[in-house]
């Protein structure tokens, strides 16, 4: 009986899920955004939502469930409704970073990844323009000459923390690590001479660089944004120093693969339009950046593998 029952159940499941996919979507799709309105993760998710509405023909409602670098939302919806109307929009630095730093005990495998649909303009390591350091190597060398005198401002737990660990433990730099808060606070601290170097989003630093108050040493992206070419990358100095923040759409674990595929098709269609290219060009100085389901999973895995390989060194003495 057991075998027959299993077969019947499997058949039923296939039938149900294929019929799911056939008339999906028929009602409002909910996307839960892991970060607050006003930030890049929210902006990208809302732009995507607006495009998906046009393509899928149903309403797409975005709500922000924020806190703990996105962990609150992911915890709440990772076992959410598997009906194909619940999705989570987040960024990969939060998804993989929270797992690597031990804030949560699950990673992208706890979800059905739908799509990686964009990439951030990234953070840059910056110093005051009046300082003598011209490259990341200069800065690291200087810190080795006078250990503990160059103050590197970071925030604990996030991507900047991972950066500091890599600089200290793989690059053998000898900075005086100062906790200086979020990006806005780190900028304040750098301008107010409370720290000597830090990493902040390019978008916050751009005007200060142009005005000649700050100098960018490198981007921490694996390569320069397409519209900001020619910047040195931190990975030229330390190969492990690659912090790519990509935007990802996830579904709760157990969402039927047909629906995941159908949603991914819609995302890919949205990302291929000239309208989308203009949105991401204007907002993140990047060209459209998106993958099919397998490609998205491979992309998530590559970053997770890199981050998890750093776990043994994620400690600053």
């Amino acid at each position: 009986m057991g075998k027959k029952f299993l077969c019947a159940a499997a058949l039923l499941l296939v039938l149900v899920s294929s019929s799911f996919a056939a008339d999906w979507p028929t009602k409002t799709i909910n996307i839960y955004v892991t970060h607050a309105a006003g930030g890049d993760t929210d902006y990208m998710a809302r732009q995507l939502g607006a495009q998906l509405e046009k393509i899928l023909g149903v309403s797409v409602v975005l709500s922000n469930v924020t806190g703990s670098n996105g962990a609150t939302c992911m915890q709440q919806y990772r076992n959410g409704a598997k009906d194909g109307y619940t999705f989570i929009a987040t960024n990969t630095a939060a998804l993989n970073g929270n797992e690597a730093t031990g804030m949560v005990d699950f990673g992208y495998n706890a979800f059905e990844p739908v799509a990686v649909y964009g990439i951030q303009s990234g953070e840059n390591i910056v110093v005051k323009a009046s300082s003598p350091y011209k490259t990341l190597q200069d800065l690291i060398n200087a810190s080795k000459e006078k250990p503990g005198t160059i103050r590197l401002g970071i925030s604990m737990g996030g991507g900047v923390y991972i950066m500091a660990c890599v600089l200290m433990n793989i690059g053998k730099a000898q900075f005086n690590i100062i906790e200086a808060g979020d990006a806005a606070n780190r900028l304040t601290a750098l301008l107010g001479d409370a720290i000597d170097a830090t990493s902040i989003p390019y978008s916050s630093a751009a005007d200060y660089i142009e005005k000649g108050e700050l100098r960018s040493l490198c981007t921490v992206l694996s390569k320069s944004p397409t519209l900001l070419p020619g910047q040195p990358a931190a990975s030229d100095v330390i190969p492990e120093l690659k912090l790519d923040t990509e935007y990802a759409l996830l579904a709760p674990k157990g969402t039927p693969p047909e629906i995941v595929k159908a949603m991914n098709d819609a995302v890919m269609k949205a990302c291929a339009t000239p309208e989308w290219k203009k949105i991401v060009n204007d907002f993140s100085w990047q060209d459209p950046f998106y993958f099919d389901v397998e490609g998205s999973i491979a992309n998530l895995k590559a970053q997770r593998d890199l981050f998890m390989s750093l776990v043994p060194i994620l400690e600053i003495e």
């Binding site: 604990m156 906790e179 107010g192 409370a194």
Partner: protein, 492 residues
């Protein structure tokens, strides 16, 4: 460029968006639990599709409306509509209880307008100079500033200092729930991921004040004699308040400039300063204009102050301006040292929008006052359940979490017990806001102390001395008040 900015705002559609923003902001501000920040969060995505000047004008209108609307529920219900109006309750509600609700509202509205104007004026004229000053505030200075502001607790505690201090310490302890600053270790979370973020200020606030207003039996009545005439006060009374308003506005702007402190603190500090420098300090809390003026002028002046580092440095001063920063970036206006050169027209558009929003706020609130006061005519046994539901919605709206509603009810019960034990709730709010600022910066200072000793920081030293003086004077004044109370009791 200036003209271009003004013209960008003086379009019928943009002015309509400003008007809508002000009205929505006032509603969000007036409903306990819904704050100016939430209004901005909700409408930020709506502005994604607008032009830069339209979108930003609307966000500014929401901000100004939201901070101003809080006084309505503070005065009529004794529940501050937003954290910025906490101190408005102190004298606003007693005025309403004396049958002067209209006068209290009029005072609040007019001086909110005055405060907004002073804030905007300082923003337009002095922004670059003040930015340099704001950058001098780093870990040491914030640590001392938090201590200085906490020392104001002593002044707010009334005559029973130990109970006031208990309340403040409890507030600071409540704020330790969640991920610790700096190292992100969970504290008192009991493995509930909802607690990782800690408690939200607005949830604590509605819990505390709600219990306080529901508890009072004499409130379950209809207040008949509510009169409304003009703004409710004479021109001579207005002139008499000018010095108080100017001092309060300067305090408001000063706190606004310093990132991370915010309107909730500015109204309480300015109320305390106003009380302690007044010739009739014993009347504060009994329902006098001065208290409402101090609180409402300061919290609205904080708007202009907070916009200074937002525009000139790209650094937000409070949660609401953090949202505005996002709104600006999304419209490809990057606040920072080059904003005047790159987006000068947008900057002047923002100034113009703020001025128009301030005028709309004044007109709408003065016009609406006669309707607001009629809230007092609703029997409290009908009114308070509605307010309670709105509070619950506000708690959910904070982070889309039903959990926060339970927390709100829990805080309500806690507040009930505190009131029974005659422990004041206001110092708790200051402790809750400033505790984390103090802790975070103290921990940063401890990282710095070996390489960068405190005597290199003159502002730190001045603030510490000021803190000690404030404590000494407040303790003396409180002891005097206590002695007078005892004498009064004896003579009765």
């Amino acid at each position: 460029m200036i003209l271009e900015g003004i013209l960008a705002v003086c379009q019928p559609l943009t002015i309509l968006w400003i008007a809508i923003g002000v009205v929505v902001g006032i509603i969000f501000g007036a409903i306990p639990g819904l704050t100016a920040t939430m209004a901005i969060v909700m409408f930020l995505p709506v502005t994604y599709s607008m032009s830069a000047s339209q979108g930003i004008a609307m966000l500014m209108a929401l901000y100004i409306g939201g901070i101003s609307g809080g006084l309505i529920s503070a005065i009529l219900l004794n529940i501050p509509g937003t954290p910025s109006s906490v101190a408005t309750c102190f004298d606003g509600k007693p005025m309403a209880n004396k049958g002067q609700a209209g006068r209290a509202l009029g005072t609040g509205v007019v001086f909110s307008f005055v405060g907004t104007l002073i804030g905007i004026a300082i923003l337009i004229v002095l922004a670059p100079v003040l930015c340099a000053f704001a950058l001098k505030f780093q870990a040491y200075e914030y640590c001392a500033l938090a201590l200085f502001s906490l020392s104001m607790v002593v002044a707010l505690t009334g005559t029973d200092m130990p109970k006031g201090l208990i309340s403040a310490v409890l507030g600071a302890l409540l704020a330790t729930v969640g991920l610790a600053p700096i190292d992100s270790r969970p504290r008192f979370t009991f493995d509930l991921f909802q607690l990782n973020n800690g408690f939200a200020l607005v949830v604590l606030l509605i819990g505390l004040f709600f219990a306080e207003s529901v508890r009072k039996k004499q409130d379950f009545t209809i207040e008949e004699n509510v009169k409304m005439k003009g703004a409710g006060f004479t021109f001579a009374e207005f002139l008499a308040q000018i010095p108080n308003a100017i001092v309060s506005a300067l305090i408001g702007v000063g706190i606004g400039i310093l990132p991370g402190i915010g309107g909730g603190v500015s109204c309480m500090i300015s109320y305390t300063v106003s009380k302690n420098t007044s010739k009739h300090r014993e009347l504060y809390g009994t329902g006098i204009m001065d208290g409402v003026v101090a609180s409402e002028t300061a919290n609205n002046a904080t708007i202009g102050g907070a916009v200074i580092p937002l525009l000139s440095l790209g650094i937000p001063g409070d949660p609401a301006t953090a949202m505005l920063l996002g709104g600006l970036m999304i419209h490809n206006v990057a606040p920072g040292p080059l904003i005047y050169e790159k987006n000068g027209a947008v900057v002047y558009a923002i100034f113009t929008a703020m001025l128009i929003a301030a005028v709309f706020m004044l007109l709408f609130m003065l016009w609406g006052m006669r309707f607001f006061v009629s809230v007092l005519k609703i029997p409290k046994n009908y009114l308070l359940p509605i307010v309670m539901v709105l509070c619950g919605i506000g708690a959910i709206g904070n982070a889309n979490q039903l959990f926060d509603t339970y927390v709100m009810v829990g805080f309500g019960l806690m507040a009930y017990l505190m009131i029974k034990a005659k422990i004041p709730t206001v110092p708790m709010i200051l402790g809750f806001i400033l505790g984390p600022t103090f802790e975070q910066n103290l921990r940063r200072v401890s990282q710095l102390a070996s390489s960068d000793p405190f005597y290199n920081h003159p502002i730190f030293c001045v603030l510490i001395v000021a803190t000690i003086l404030v404590i000494i004077f407040s303790v003396r004044a409180n002891l005097k008040d206590a002695a007078r109370e005892r004498e009064q009791e004896l003579s009765e």
